[in-house]
């Protein structure tokens, strides 16, 4: 059980507004779990509830099987890496890393060794005497990480630790943090709004929206089978429309968009004839060529060049689709050209409008 986190029916409101609503979540020991969502979705509040900076209105939190409701933050077996690092400006790098050790009454003689080990762990050996304002953003991040992990917490909480870094540094740090986690085998609860970051690093991802967990799963599950409109949208399933279900037969549903386009979707049992449904198609699963089903003549409206690929805005009747194409095959097209688009029925994802209420 060491390192397990169990969030049970937690609700937290601020001035009548629910920041976290009846959330239940189990994090396994040694797991890298990411809370993913837009700002204001409650992910940071949930993290702060686990850390003990906020008190829940309802519900319980168990860390390593122990109810921590009565424990203030300083007595919880968790440590946090803060969004803006929260390094103490009046202490040196070594002073920051030593802080928690001092608080734990680690013998004075042991502290310098453990501080240096922490610095080596984040690949900044010999930085101990630097002042905080002499560090770059990336270095601050590593120090914040070192400061937390030298205490060997059962669970490490990371609150958007990469938000302030530039793209290249962020990519490097993602790898580094992931490696560190695998080496230390500590449970990580990681908060981010960056879907790529979440997909790259996590064992599992909990996508949050308006204080609730909308979907919990491995990166693959989430990527391939987003359940709700919100999750799909957040994970860049760009072509999301509401459709009318005309018929369901042979494992396929025939649906019509608002723009009048008729298409077939693989039936997952969720379509009701005569009813409405939401569907989504990933841009990279649409081909700019004819296909066996869902194949339409189209006109190219616009081009968004993205380097390794190109996003085309194409018009099919009165509907507009985004189609993503690898850079190598994208040459030779321009605005106004006629084209054909197609996608298999399997690529059409049926999406729930709202998350199913928790069981």
């Amino acid at each position: 059980m060491r390192g397990a986190v169990s969030v049970q029916g937690i609700t937290k409101t601020f001035g009548g507004l629910a920041a976290v609503q009846d959330v239940s979540l189990d994090v396994k020991p040694g797991e890298f779990l990411t809370l993913l969502g837009p700002s204001g979705c409650g992910k940071t509040t949930l993290l702060r509830l686990i850390a003990g900076f906020e008190e829940p209105d309802r519900g319980a939190i168990l860390i390593s099987g122990r109810d921590v409701a009565a424990l203030p933050p300083n007595e919880r077996p968790v440590n946090t890496v803060f969004q803006h690092y929260a390094l103490f400006p009046h202490r040196t790098v070594a002073g920051n890393i030593a802080f928690g050790l001092e608080m734990k009454n680690v013998p004075r003689s042991e502290i310098p060794g453990r501080v240096e080990k922490g610095l080596e762990m984040v690949r900044l050996p010999g930085f101990g005497e630097r002042r905080i304002d002499q560090l770059s953003g990336g270095q601050k991040q590593r120090i914040a990480l070192a400061r937390a992990v030298v205490l060997e917490p059962e669970v490490l909480l990371l609150d958007e630790p990469m938000a302030a870094l530039d793209l290249k540094l962020r990519k490097e740090m993602q790898v580094e943090v992931k490696n560190l986690q695998e080496r230390l085998k500590i449970t990580f609860v990681f908060v981010t709004h960056d879907q790529d970051e979440a997909l790259t690093m996590s064992d599992r991802i909990a996508v949050m929206n308006q204080g609730r967990v909308e979907q919990l799963g491995t990166p693959e599950e989430l990527y391939e089978r987003p359940r709700t409109r919100f999750v799909a949208d957040f994970l860049a399933v760009k072509n999301i429309v509401e459709v009318a279900v005309e018929s369901v037969e042979g494992g396929k549903a025939r649906v019509r968009t608002g723009g009048g386009t008729v298409l077939f979707a693989k039936d997952d049992g969720g379509y009701t004839v005569g009813g409405k449904a939401w569907i989504g198609v990933r841009p990279e699963q649409i081909a700019l060529s004819g296909g066996a089903e869902n194949s339409y003549p189209a006109v190219i409206d616009d081009e968004i060049y993205l380097g390794d690929c190109t996003d085309w805005q194409v018009r099919v009747g009165q509907d507009v689709l985004t189609v993503s194409e690898q850079a190598t095959s994208a040459r030779g097209r321009k605005r106004g050209d006629a084209a054909t688009v197609s996608f298999p029925a399997e690529a059409v994802l049926r999406l729930d409008d709202k998350p199913a209420p928790p069981a």
């Binding site: 003990g52 900076f53 906020e54 008190e55 009565a70 203030p72 933050p73």
Partner: protein, 279 residues
């Protein structure tokens, strides 16, 4: 964070208690006194009457009040005109490593007795004072600089100027300089960008400084006495003389109470910008 509220209350309690006992309770006693009467020998006869408040509405006292408001207004105006450029220079132009030291220098004069500083001004301004000696060296006839409205204003501005500079500096220093560049980029002349961008954005500092100067100036009595030669009476002098000359504590208390009330009303009216300036 369990008991954060209780902890906060425990922290606040000693200070609150001190203010309740040492400030609010005396004010209540003072109000009670203001309802009484002066005894023939300058004592207080307990009573419950609003007579002293009716007396305070006499035109002569209202004129004194109006004059005090005028003094406070012009003190505020001149402080603002003098402090704004200085605060702007401190916040935007002054070398950064000197900034804190320069700011401390604004407050340092406070460590010398105000009385002593006022007398130093008398020493400089008087007919055969330092400034006139200096002017004499230049062949200029001595000027009448003491015991007039000019001297009162000078003393007031001198005493209150730091209270204007500090909040102004705080708001100017917070100013996002890229906004000024944006204004310049969009074709605003420096003067226009001062008027259209800098001043509106530093409004909370202007209000805070103005209130901090205006309110104490309402109760001013040392500068009018020492530099103005006591030729005019301001509300502060009037209150002072009720306690220290006429020994009419009930009337003095009534006047004080009215002054405190005015201050409270002003604080209420300007509560928003004041709070904004503290953030």
């Amino acid at each position: 964070m369990k008991g954060a509220r209780r902890q906060a209350i425990l922290l606040l309690l000693p200070c609150l208690l001190a203010l309740l006992v040492l400030f609010l309770l005396p004010q209540v006693l003072m109000f009670a006194t203001s309802l009484g009467r002066r005894s023939a020998y300058g004592g207080v006869i307990r009573d419950v009457s609003l007579l002293n408040y009716v007396r305070a509405l006499d035109p002569i006292y209202l004129r004194i009040l109006a004059r005090s408001v005028g003094l406070a207004f012009f003190t505020t105006l001149f402080c603002l005109l003098m402090a704004y450029p200085v605060s702007y220079w401190l916040g935007v132009k002054a070398p950064e490593k000197w900034r804190n030291a320069l700011l401390v220098l604004v407050i340092l004069p406070f460590w010398t007795s105000f009385l002593v500083r006022m007398y130093a001004w008398v020493f400089m301004l008087r007919t055969e004072g330092l400034l006139n000696l200096f002017l004499g060296e230049l062949g200029i006839a001595p000027l009448n600089m003491l015991y007039n409205d000019f001297a009162v204003m000078l003393g007031q501005v001198y005493g209150e100027l730091p209270f204007m500079i500090l909040p102004l500096y705080a708001s100017i220093e917070k100013l996002d300089r890229s906004l000024l560049e944006a204004a310049a980029d969009l074709g605003a002349s420096p003067l226009r960008s001062l008027w259209r961008v800098t001043i509106p954005l530093t409004a909370p500092g202007i209000v805070a400084g103005s209130v901090l100067v205006f309110i104490p100036s309402l109760g001013a009595y040392l500068a009018p006495d020492l530099l103005g030669g006591a030729r005019t009476v301001y509300i502060g002098n009037l209150i002072q003389s009720q306690f220290a000359v006429a020994r009419d504590m009930p009337f003095g208390s009534a006047l004080s109470f009215l002054l405190s009330l005015t201050v409270l009303v002003l604080l209420y009216v300007f509560r928003r910008p004041l709070r904004a300036s503290q953030a």
